[in-house]
């Protein structure tokens, strides 16, 4: 992933360079793709990243653990709760802070709702990439219901910051389970419609079947995770492989598919949404009573000094494995915080996959991988 444009002199005469992005309707943010094309066929794809670099990792070194909390949900703005929780859990693990049972389960509920919202948004955006305008409005309608639900707990719609060291800053309301069940029912009623109108659509199937295939070996060498890896037939999900939080208590499956094409990635995501609904239903049943936070103000500068040590903590975010490497030298601020974001590896595999496809497929493949550029740039 070099930032160099192929020079004009090195270019053979039968190909040309097309600079796609950083302002392009379907690069999903400020991603720039330098394409070498022969006619409409891709010869070479060179993703250029870093337009949205904000220095999150450096920021982490200059802030206390609590002050960095809001940054986390601004890395992947579509699954902020999951990132927020991950930071809290990493710090809790290193500091040895106990978390109440209710908070553990509540975190799972919020995270799974966030995953649903993220996947719903992806389905809409992906079909928009393929030229279908209408599905977006329907999936966003479902997503809206989830956002209202999350807003009622966290107070924000996109960049959530409810996690605290030792629990959550706000408790779930008494009527939260009832409202959540209404939303889940609405979602379940829509599955059939999506299946009929999207999976049953000849054009959609033609556009996605056999498009953008990468092998298990490519996934391994680039570190592809998440739905894209599961669509390649590898049942890897951090929630199952290295269970964290309250996940070991819940029954759920890891949907996989062997084809590894764009259709398989779509299918896996839809199945994952069904599994998320399953997890939430169980979590709502098992939601224990009790405090939501061990102690208020635990993260304040005076009190939170982490012991010397190194901690790696991984969670399954909506796009794949998200990892935090936290190095503490005993101060109030981390010595180093390194984030392993799923989209980076998922995008990197693209330059191996793309050549040979057409420009229209580029949009279809890029969309199917579901990259979030701000988390790559961080």
């Amino acid at each position: 992933m070099t930032a160099q444009t192929p020079t004009l002199t090195a270019e053979p005469l039968d190909t040309y360079t097309l600079n796609m992005g950083p302002q392009h309707p379907s690069t999903h943010g400020v991603l720039r793709l330098v394409l070498t094309l022969r006619g409409e066929k891709l010869v070479h794809v060179d993703p250029v990243i870093g337009y949205g670099h904000r220095g999150h990792e450096k920021m982490a070194e200059n802030r206390t653990y609590a002050q960095f909390l809001p940054n986390t949900s601004r890395q992947d703005y579509l699954s902020g709760v999951i990132y927020n929780n991950a930071w809290c859990e990493a710090v809790e693990k290193l500091a040895g802070i106990a978390v109440p049972e209710r908070a553990l389960v509540a975190r799972v509920i919020l995270a799974e709702f966030n995953r649903l919202a993220s996947h719903l948004m992806w389905i809409g955006a992906y079909l928009l990439d393929l030229g279908g305008w209408t599905p977006q409005l329907y999936t966003w309608d479902d997503r809206e219901a989830i956002l209202f639900l999350l807003e009622s707990v966290t107070g924000s719609r996109l960049t959530y910051c409810t996690g605290r060291f030792g629990g959550l800053s706000r408790d779930l309301d008494a009527d939260f389970p009832a409202r959540a069940r209404v939303v889940l029912k609405k979602l379940k009623d829509r599955w059939q419609e999506y299946e009929d109108l999207v999976e049953g659509n000849v054009i959609f199937v033609q556009r996605t079947r056999g498009v953008g295939i990468f092998t298990k070996e490519q996934c391994q060498s680039y570190g592809v995770t998440g739905s894209s890896l599961r669509a390649a037939g590898v049942a890897y999900d951090v929630r199952k492989v290295e269970p964290y939080g309250a996940y070991p208590r819940f029954q759920f499956d890891i949907p996989t598919r062997p084809e590894s094409d764009a259709f398989a990635r779509y299918w896996v995501r839809v199945q994952e949404m069904k599994q998320s609904v399953r997890i939430i239903e169980q979590a709502l049943e098992q939601l224990p009573d009790g405090p939501i936070l061990t102690e208020r103000g635990l993260g304040s500068k005076k009190r939170l000094k982490l012991p010397v040590g190194t901690q790696y903590y991984a969670v399954e975010a909506a796009r794949g494995a998200y990892g935090i490497l936290l190095v503490s030298e005993g101060g109030t601020e981390p010595y180093r915080a390194k984030f392993r974001v799923p989209s980076y590896a998922n995008l990197a595999v693209m330059q191996d996959v793309m050549p040979g496809y057409m420009v229209a497929d580029l949009v279809g493949i890029l969309g199917s991988i579901d990259v979030i550029i701000p988390e790559i740039d961080r």
Binding site: H24, P25, L127, L130, G132, W133, I203
Partner: protein
Amino acid sequence: MTLLTGLRDWIAGFLGEFLATWLLGAALIMTFLAFNVLFLVLAERKLAGHFQRRVGPMEVGPHGSLQSIADMIKLLGKQILTPVATDRFVYLLAPLLVFLPTLCVASLIPLTGAEAFANQPYGLLVIVALSGVTVLSIFMAGWSSNNKYAVLGGMRSVAQVIAYEIPVLLAALSVVMIAQTTNLRQIVEAQANTHWYVLYQPIAALLFFIGITAETNRAPFDIPEAESELVGGFHTEYSGMRFAMFFFAEYTNMLVLGALGATLFLGGWLGPWLPGPVWLLLKTYAVIFVLIWVRWTFPRLRFDQLMSFAWKLLIPVALLNLVITAILVHGVG
């Protein structure tokens, strides 16, 4: 109609009979087409809104009915940009040329049995020939913009329109075989004696519909301006009224091809109670409604799939349909 005749006679007093008819007809058609575009844009946005669980434009005028006029004023007020690297002459010419063919075609559609602006014996052939010219100005626009997205859009457009004109022509030919004429007025009159040709030629009607969807560059065949791939396609570099010209041409093309479809397959101006032109308009808008409906339902095909769909499926089916029609017409009639 007496008012129009009077007006024509008055102009004929100082310009001559021929020129007066010509000018008045052109002015009438232009006015109608302009209003039609305003209406169609609004209709499309409203319908799209309702397909998508929205309400569509609501702010300007009652129920958003003046939205098109607001849009038009906005487009008029926009700065017209000409990028430095363009081929200036062609770049400026393309938006002017783009709706000329459609305008000519519009004048050839028979409105009623008695009144028609032009009653050509080879009307259908002229229409097919003229509508093929539209693609030229689209390619001119794409090429002269000197933008890679625009060139790609222009090239896609040429390939697509050429491919899809063939099934349209073959479908129209099977109607000609039954009606035994290429005069559009006589084709409609022939349908008065029997049934509408959509009943005799359902396959041809379907092929024709698919063909005009592609010719008007509408989803699922909107690849020349595929927004998620080519930004704006051939009109990427056009702004303000120049962009509006392409927009105007696209919607006019929809109307004209819809009217042609209504004439060939749905009995043109025929219908009880209402006057002929009203029936023709109703049928045309019914065709356009389906076009809009399809656009907001389907995703886009890929370019190679689009081409193989035309060459490997539509054209063989159209040819087969033509042969069967020929056998039936000559065997039975």
